[in-house]
């Protein structure tokens, strides 16, 4: 037994390599940010003056509350979209359920800042809807004005997080939970309030806190909507306009981290002890009813309305990508394919860069994720859970903060010819990999967990050594899950912008999301930007569908095996 507990050299080597990777590309940059925020410029002495400055500066305080307001309201509006849809699919036999499934996935394939431009054209002050409203009814609705515009865009983009989590929670409720309540005399809304709602609460809170944090950290959407007095844009603007020596960008970064961590901590506090899955054995979801005629009309109405909203950015983007001029009119004046020609010609570099960066990031994620999962699940190495914890902590680090950290940490390191390390394109890849690592880690963890240890022991019992067991049993069984993890990392890295925005130093190194952002800044570039956006959506959609297919195939394979 003792020799089993003793760490083998291979385990130690893998653990050290991961530790080095995380230390260099996650811990050090973030620590640098925190260090700068708490030290005096020039001397390096500990100080809280920077935070006092933050609290004294009207712009920053306003930005902070604006960010809180936008995030909270985005949760409220996203809930208004998600809750009816989740309830509808889990409670009723509803022919529109597949449509709702698509609804839950369509927004996520388009980066929110891309959708922002399209929504501006459709719902903005002089967008299609308001022009029509003004013509017919003589008034306009300010969907896209100021902070509310950001709320509107973010809610449409992020409501699937709540929908997916809440639906899963509802589907996990054992039917007997509901039946026991009915058996004891409960029904209708009381039953919902006392049993169904509390049981689904952990799922809802998980989704809602995710939306809050994502919106709080998002940089590009407010910038594109020309909202600058929010925290993430302020951090970006400070560092890019005043310089990486100015401490305020770092102070804001610390505030961003603290708020993200606080939001996650609060949500875990609220759901503590609520891991109901362990008590509920059956699952199977609530008993489904069929809709009455009136209910059907209402249900289809709600779904159609939300579908229209969700499709709006996609439709807008598509129209824009083919439009010659689209301004002060409900529809474009004329159509052209010139934008695509331009994007696929001179700007195809963006696409190539993105494919390289996202593939490399995905590959790094799957490798590091699998190694950590293996250490955690299959070895007794001391400190293995710490690795897991550090890698997962990347969740709480906003992209803009990571970007600032990389700049500060690696700008001073000069490579050949005096070129700072921070300007290498590899840095972008590493930032993307770190940002996506927590998700890939969870995927690897789940994939490895599905490989029952007895399957490995059976192989060893029949004469396969550890390496051959790994190759012949573990890896084949994990492949589906890992491929899905890679594809997810790839798809999200392909449209990631917040860290990238800080790190792109030359146009030649820029990925698609950056190019999009640059194009979208000027009215003249919007057509090309939209075309690039459509290409991004197609890439992400294709890879997402691919990952769904992989997951589904893997599930069927496993189901067939047992």
């Amino acid at each position: 037994m003792t020799h089993l507990l003793r760490a083998r050299p291979a385990e130690v080597a893998v653990a050290l390599a991961i530790l080095l990777f995380l230390g260099l590309f996650l811990v050090w940059p973030v620590a640098t940010v925190i260090w700068v925020a708490f030290t005096e410029k020039g001397t390096g002495a500990f100080t809280l003056v920077n935070f006092a400055d933050f609290a004294r500066t009207d712009l920053f305080v306003r930005s902070f509350w604006n960010s809180i307001y936008v995030s909270a309201m985005a949760v409220v509006v996203a809930s208004a979209f998600a809750i009816p849809l989740a309830y509808l699919t889990s409670r009723y036999t509803f022919a529109g359920s597949p449509v709702i499934q698509v609804l839950g996935f369509l927004p996520l394939i388009m980066p929110p800042f891309v959708g922002a431009v399209a929504l501006q054209l459709l719902f903005g002050r002089n967008g299609s809807l308001n022009l029509l409203l003004d013509d017919w009814l003589g008034f306009k609705i300010p969907f896209m004005e100021g902070l509310n515009g950001v709320v509107f865009v973010q809610a449409i983009h992020y409501f699937p997080f709540i929908l997916i989590n809440l639906s899963a929670a509802l589907a996990n409720i054992d039917r007997s939970m509901e039946e026991a309540a009915q058996n004891l005399g409960s029904s209708g809304f009381r039953l919902f309030r006392r049993i169904v709602f509390p049981l689904a609460m952990p799922g809802y809170i998980a989704g809602a806190s995710l939306v809050f944090v994502k919106v709080f950290d998002d940089l590009a959407t407010p910038l594109l909507l020309n909202v600058k007095d929010m925290l993430a844009p302020q951090a970006y603007l400070r560092v890019t306009s005043i310089g990486i020596a100015d401490p305020m960008g770092y102070v804001i970064s610390v505030v961003l981290i603290v708020t993200s961590v606080a939001a996650m901590w609060l949500s875990s506090l609220a759901t503590r002890g609520a891991d109901y899955a362990t008590v509920q054995r059956g699952g199977g979801g609530l008993a489904k009813r069929s809709l009455t005629r009136t209910e059907s009309v209402i249900a289809y109405g709600v779904v159609a309305l939300i579908l229209l909203l969700v499709l709006a950015p996609h439709i807008g983007l598509l129209l824009l990508s083919f439009a010659t001029v689209w301004s002060f009119s409900p529809l474009p004046d004329a159509f052209t394919t010139a934008h695509y020609a331009r994007v696929l010609g001179e700007s195809s570099l963006y696409i190539k860069n993105t494919l390289i960066y996202a593939s490399l990031a995905g590959l790094i994620d799957v490798m590091v994720g699998t190694a950590i999962a293996w250490l955690v699940l299959r070895t007794k190495l001391i400190g293995r859970t710490a690795l897991d914890w550090i890698a997962s902590a990347a969740l709480a680090i906003p992209g803009v903060v990571l970007g600032i950290g990389y700049l500060r940490a690696y700008y001073g390191i000069e490579l050949w010819g005096g070129r700072p390390a921070a300007t290498l394109w590899v840095v972008i890849v590493l930032a993307l990999a770190i940002r996506r690592l927590p998700y890939a880690l969870r995927a690897s963890h789940a994939a490895l967990q599905q490989v029952s240890i007895s399957l490995e022991e059976a192989a060893e019992n029949l004469g396969a050594n550890r390496r051959r067991t790994l190759r012949r049993i573990v890896v084949p069984l994990m492949t589906g899950g890992l491929a899905a993890g890679f594809v997810t990392s790839f798809a999200t890295a392909a449209v990631e912008l917040s860290a990238t925005l800080m790190l792109v130093q030359s146009n030649a190194d820029a990925p698609l999301a950056y190019g999009l952002y640059v194009f979208m800044q000027s009215p003249a570039g919007r057509g090309a930007g939209a075309a690039l956006g459509v290409i991004a959506v197609v890439i992400v959609a294709a890879t997402t569908i691919l990952s769904q297919i992989l997951v589904e195939r893997d599930r069927r394979l496993k189901a067939g095996r047992s």
Binding site: D174, S176, M177, E179, A180, A181, Q182, N183, L184, G185, S186, S187, R190, R194, I195, P198, L199, M201, G273, A274, D275, Y276, T278, V279, Q280, R281, G282
Partner: protein, 370 residues
Amino acid sequence: MSTMDTTLPAGNTRKAAALSIENVSLAYGEQRVLNDISLDVRPGEFFALLGPSGCGKTTLLRLVAGFARADSGRVSIDGQDISHLAPWMRDVGMVFQNYALWPHMNVARNVAFGLEERRIRRPEIARRVNDALDLVGMSGLAARKPSQLSGGQQQRVALARTIAIEPRILLLDEPLSNLDAKLRVQVRRELRELQQRLGLTTILVTHDQEEANTICDRVAVMNDGVIRQVGVPAEIYQHPRDPFVANFLGSANILSGRMVDAGGQRVFETEGGARLAIPTGRAVGSGDRVFFRPQDASLTATGQALPGHADIAGTIAFREFLGSSVRYSVQAGGDTLSIDVPFHSGDTLRAIGEAVTVAIPLQHVRWLNG
């Protein structure tokens, strides 16, 4: 584990109810789940629905609780038709197989739930929750969450939650299936005592004949959506109506064949070629199957016919030493018979291959129709 407190007076002052199921049928699409079921459960009776999985017993229970709708027929309690009542209007308490304790409420809140739904005053609720938890020996754990309880404790809470509302009928869906073997024996005795004290009409669903036989007054054996036989456990055991019931209630030797006349001697000749000699001068039943229990037969040396016994010749093919008895498998033609012989210290076992005669007292041989 604390045991259920048996010194408390019965909490239920209501008169026990009678349940009547009349001509109930239920099909899911093409599949017939219940086929013209009729059943009467008497007031205060502990009644079991016994059958293999998929026989429709749980569906029948859920039908009584209102979670399934019959295509035809009616269910009534004390003559009142409840077929069209919603589950929450029925006052029929059900203990779920997985207990279905709500994980977000503690034990006391779980038990109070049904009383709260009945808009009972707070002090009264507190008293009845206490009584119910006392009754199952769980009052010390009222503040625990279900996840902090063992399987047996969860089951007691589920029971307390159901009896707290003083239901007209108590339904138990495989109540012992999630408990380990030792606990099962203890809990089933406690269930019986509790039921007797409350005088509650109770229906238990189980696939375990031992469970049904030990605690129930009467049993309905079900298969393929049909009730095969209803009766007192010992009666059905001795007088099964068909081979399915005979087999389901315990080990049974069932031989298929027909009576032939072999030179004045009556012989039951099996399809496998074995010959069961029937002594003359006694009446025999009719049917194409002959049935007897392993412990009713005895083994003798070949050729020794016992008076008043049916006998059949064979050889010992296999034996299993069970402690209090030895089970011999006797090969007789194409048939294999199981014979249990009581074992006393000092006995010697018969050898494999030994030729023997199986002798069964004629009153223990039954004729069935397959």
